[in-house]
């Protein structure tokens, strides 16, 4: 019903001999428990009647004012009143007011007897804690954080709030085997324990979110260290009922007092940052002050619209042609995803690809890329164009996903690509994560007859020793080495060194980003290199690519 304190609290309230009701923002009563219904006059429908009957013993402040104070402070309050509600007439009574979300309040009124006070305290305890993790819930977290802030108001101490947001915990369930949510949650909490016990507050603030308040780590550098420590805790998978779960998380951080000076806004800012981070980068963290509001909103909209975009064909593929210098012809193309959003126009792949990785939609995008490649191979064959390769970019998340090999095999077989020159491109940085798993995956892919291209070479940290051991066929030299290669002597030296090394190791070479005639003149000296870039062609639609190929054949 009101999920901020949990269904269980309301169920228990029905069984107790304590009057309880929920008051909406417009002061109407939206829920009352059985005891309230039975023992208080049934014609008490509105809060105005209730206020008249709750005479605060504090005198000056009316019950209505107290209620407003509670709502705006988001902290619960217990007041003593002379309650006229009971059919037996006026009696001293404690009224406990607890703020709920959406400006509702839960009101519990009880006669002042020790027994009922104990019941109410037990209830308070329950309303404050999340029943599964046994951690403080959102409301109690805000209440405690509020108290902390209040006590520090006059000192100049700093504080940080960290929200740890686990990506779509529900997607770990499948249609046929439901892994226990609760066990997974407890396992996540358990992992966080080491870090959380060093810090002041630890709570479960939403179904998939935990929050930590740090008083010892308050400068960006210190907080960053804690965030890294937390990310590190989830490098290894979690075992739940025999299933290995790789938790995907993002951490949003807000700093007191720079980002906000009250509990609610500190938590909200950290939460919003965590969701925005989650959409753009896997297992990462970010600071609230570094994310401009507008960007956050745009990212959230894009991520909502993404699932339907592939099916609506808003996401489509263009082909970036590659030119073989030694053969003097266009000999391949890289498939590049494009998204034309009906309202926002073209959205950069740099924004939506990481987002697709986060939401799992990358699987559909990649699937579509395979289908496009298959269609293109057939079309090329139909036009008698042979020896033409197609490269599909692949996210490391796909490679590490368990069913990927089976899926890839399916595409190769069902879409008849077994004898085609299909390349999968993996970026150099991807190798840094899960190195050995990555190597195994790439070896298996090569066994299927698919070639591997290492994309963006030179931007990562692959040591030469590793490079010689990687199961790859082609090294794609990053555009930053080609830029100004004609005028920058150092660039030319580095480019030559990479080409020499790649040739010695037996790798094919692709140079990216050849844009000017002068750059091309230098690159052309390397006959065994394939080149791509605006000097040769911009990315093309299918029909444009065929025009280019046919023109080139005529030439």
């Amino acid at each position: 019903m009101y999920n901020d304190v949990g269904e269980h609290v309301f169920n228990i309230l029905h069984t107790l001999d304590i009057g309880a009701l929920v008051i909406e923002e417009d002061l109407s009563i939206s829920w009352k428990n059985k005891y309230f219904d039975k023992h208080y006059s049934t014609d008490q429908k509105s809060l105005n009647d209730l206020c008249r009957d709750f005479k605060s013993v504090e005198g000056e402040r009316s019950f209505l004012h107290i209620l407003e104070d509670v709502r705006s402070s988001k902290e619960h309050s217990i007041i003593s009143v002379d309650c006229q509600l009971s059919k037996r007439g006026a009696a001293p009574c404690d009224v406990w007011i607890y703020p709920l979300q959406e400006e509702r309040s839960l009101i519990v009124c009880q006669l002042q007897t020790p027994e009922k006070t104990a019941q109410c305290e037990a209830l308070l305890q329950m309303a404050r804690y999340d029943p599964v993790s046994e951690l403080p819930n959102r409301m109690y977290f805000l209440e405690m954080l509020g108290e902390k802030l209040l006590s520090q108001q006059h000192s100049e101490s700093l504080m940080s709030v960290m929200v740890i947001d686990f990506n779509e915990l529900d997607t770990y369930d499948t249609v046929f085997s439901i892994t226990s949510d609760e066990l997974l949650l407890l396992a996540l909490k358990e992992r966080l324990n080491d870090v959380s016990k060093k810090h002041a507050l630890f709570a479960r603030v939403a179904p998939s979110k935990f929050a930590i308040v740090c008083e010892t780590a308050v400068t960006p550098a210190e907080v960053q260290k804690v965030a890294q420590e937390i990310l590190h805790l989830f490098f290894e998978p979690i075992s739940v009922e025999g299933h290995l779960v790789y938790a995907e998380l993002s951490i949003g951080i807000s700093l007191y007092p720079t980002d906000a000076n009250n509990a609610k806004n500190l938590l909200l800012k950290a939460e919003k940052t965590a969701s925005a981070i989650q959409k753009t980068e896997l297992n990462s963290y970010g600071f609230a002050h570094k994310l401009p509001e507008k960007n956050v909103d745009k990212i959230l909209k894009i991520s909502t619209d993404l699932p339907a975009a592939v099916e609506n064909e808003e996401i489509f593929f263009v082909f970036q042609p590659q030119y073989c210098l030694d053969e003097g012809r266009f000999c391949g193309a890289e498939l590049l995803a494009r998204w034309e959003h009906p309202e926002l126009g073209f959205i950069s792949p740099e924004i939506f690809i990481p987002l697709a990785e986060q939401t799992g939609m990358i699987r559909t995008v990649t699937m579509k890329a395979f289908m496009e490649a298959s269609k293109m191979f057939k079309a090329l064959e139909g036009r008698g164009i042979k020896d033409f390769s197609l490269s599909v970019n692949i996210s490391p998340n796909m490679l590490l996903y368990n069913g990927f090999m089976e899926d890839l095999e399916f595409f190769i077989e069902s879409y008849e690509m077994a004898d085609k020159a299909l390349y999968l491109e993996v970026t150099e940085n991807d190798f840094a994560r899960n190195f050995s798993k990555m190597i195994d995956a790439l070896n298996a892919i090569r066994d299927m007859g698919i070639k591997i291209e290492m994309d963006d070479y030179g931007t990562g940290y692959t040591s030469l020793q590793y490079l010689s051991k990687l199961p790859i066929d082609t090294l794609k030299i990053d555009r930053s080495f080609v830029q100004d290669i004609d005028s920058d002597q150092q660039q030319a030296v580095l480019f030559k060194a990479i080409c020499d090394m790649a040739s010695a190791l037996g790798y094919d070479i692709v140079a990216e980003g050849v844009e000017t005639e002068a750059e091309n003149r230098v690159v052309q000296q390397y006959k065994n290199v394939r080149v791509q870039g605006y000097y040769y062609s911009k990315p093309l639609q299918v029909n444009e690519l065929f025009e280019l190929l046919e023109k080139a054949v005529v030439l």
Binding site: T171, T174, V175, F176, P307, A308, V310, E311, G360, M361, R363, T364, M367, K368, M371, G403, E406, D407, F410, F411, E413, S414, Y415
Partner: protein, 123 residues
């Protein structure tokens, strides 16, 4: 023994993908599978009327209606037909879950899709 499956989706590449995935299940299923395709509720109902299906897999959001309409129609004709819904937003159709044996959440992956087909055909 031959099992007959109807797949319904208005997106051509998904329909094609599903057909290919079922085709590859067929190879090791030990029984023949016949696949029919439809892209609208109207076409699907016509096929349901004319044939007996062991399994129907339908997209929820179709140009002329929802997968639930097909499910209701099919169940009226034959309660034994197993029906799976395919949707990006399973939570939107929580209230209609009773008409379906399973909800497949998009994006669909070949390996998961094939496994689900196997389970639905054997169960």
């Amino acid at each position: 023994m031959t099992k007959r499956i109807l797949i319904v989706d208005d997106v051509e590449f998904i329909l094609d993908f599903e057909a290919k995935a079922i085709e590859s299940v067929k190879n090791d299923a030990g029984f023949a599978i016949v696949v029919d395709k439809a892209s609208t509720v109207t076409d699907a109902k016509e096929l349901v009327d004319a044939n007996r299906y062991d399994l129907i897999i339908s997209d929820m959001n179709l140009p002329d209606g929802t997968g639930t309409e097909i499910a209701k129609f099919a169940l009226e004709k034959d309660e034994g037909t197993r029906i799976a819904a395919l949707t990006i937003y399973p939570q939107r159709y929580e209230g209609e879950r009773g008409y379906f044996d399973a909800f497949f959440k998009k994006p669909i992956l070949p390996s998961v899709f094939k496994e689900n087909i196997r389970l639905l055909l054997h169960a």
